[in-house]
Symmetry: C2
Subunit: 216 residues, 2 copies
């Protein structure tokens, strides 16, 4: 059965692959699993039908028969359990990759989302720059630690895994800030992710949705 | 083999069960798994020995033979996979519980941690109250959605599970704010968690550590 995910009909990132459906698309492409996409408008996120899929009203969601999931981390973990290629076979190595799924989303991402939100919702505040500096200090603290742990390895823990999908795309949320570029190994890590054929297919697929929406 | 976790030698929450070792202690108590605790000072968090356990230098970590994990969500998932009692047996129900582990940590918790951090690091700022109001609006937006989904159920998805451990303890971080109490079903949900015998044993164990540290 082909699973169905949800994605923005007209993504606020303008097809730059920053919306969270990119994470799930990349995972599907890595394991060679075809999928369908249900496009949702901003208004549609608030509809009861979508709230049944995700009570917090965000994308992506995952539907496969009776099973409905949300949270990109949980969806990627589910895909990794069902297919070869995103989790190592060794049980301890697999537990470590799961640790990195949570680290990407609960330790690395939160200050980055805070930084994004501040740019939208605090842009008219007199204290905007002062707050931004505090958030950026917190982001650098996380990236200092991440950069030290990555060292000169290609991927975060052994071979390429589901954890690298999340970490690369979380770091990509800082595109344009110059912050990731302060860490040459992290910048190279993001580039390495973007060079994967599966990444490129996923990126093209989400960009095509945005281009179709803006042409219409 | 008895696993070893790390916890604060002298917890900044003063034994109120808000530090993240409480999550893992509660999980162990639910499944009846004894564990050892390695206590760490604030200075110890920065030591290379601890950074090998957790590159971000926080607690808890989990050691069992050669396996070293960090991130409370990943540790709880690991415990739930190894023991009966924290995951449902049905494969789809299990995937939904995992969704809620990620939702607790990636959707509900981030604005709550932001609120805590703001109280420490922005207390001398003139814009403190204005920023706090923005964060509290974001917290209420998450809790509105969570409260609607919980409805009058006892637990978030079917029987008590690992997801309830994380959600209850994430909501407890708002203790004293009065925010959870605005949602009678969420307040009752937290109370229900705290009434469990396993919660009480875990709470007493972490409190005893703080009391020993403050007596010495």
């Amino acid at each position: 059965m082909k699973p169905t995910i949800t994605a923005f009909e007209c993504s606020p990132d303008e097809g730059q692959g920053l919306a969270r459906d990119m994470r799930v698309r990349w995972a599907f492409e890595e394991v060679g699993q075809p999928y369908d996409v249900r496009l949702i408008s901003m208004k549609g996120l608030k509809e009861p039908e979508h709230r049944l899929r995700n009570p917090f009203g965000s994308i992506p969601t995952y539907e496969e028969g009776d099973l409905v999931l949300f949270e990109s981390g949980a969806i990627i973990l589910h895909i990794a359990e069902q297919h070869e290629g995103l989790f190592p076979n060794d049980v301890n190595a697999r537990a470590r990759v799961i640790t990195w799924l949570f680290a990407a989303l609960n330790t690395v991402e939160p200050p980055i989302v805070e930084w994004e939100m501040a740019q939208y919702f605090e842009k008219d505040k007199s204290w905007r720059d002062e707050h931004k500096a505090i958030i950026e200090r917190n982001i650098r603290s996380r990236l200092d630690d991440l950069s030290k742990r990555l060292g000169d390895a290609d991927w975060i823990d052994g071979d390429f895994s589901a954890a690298d999908i999340l970490l690369v795309l979380v770091l990509r949320r800082l595109d344009g800030s110059g912050i990731v570029e302060e860490y040459s190994n992290l910048a190279a890590y993001v580039s390495r992710g973007k060079e994967r054929a599966a990444y490129k297919r996923a990126f093209e697929a989400q960009l095509a949705v945005f281009e179709a929406a803006s042409a219409s």
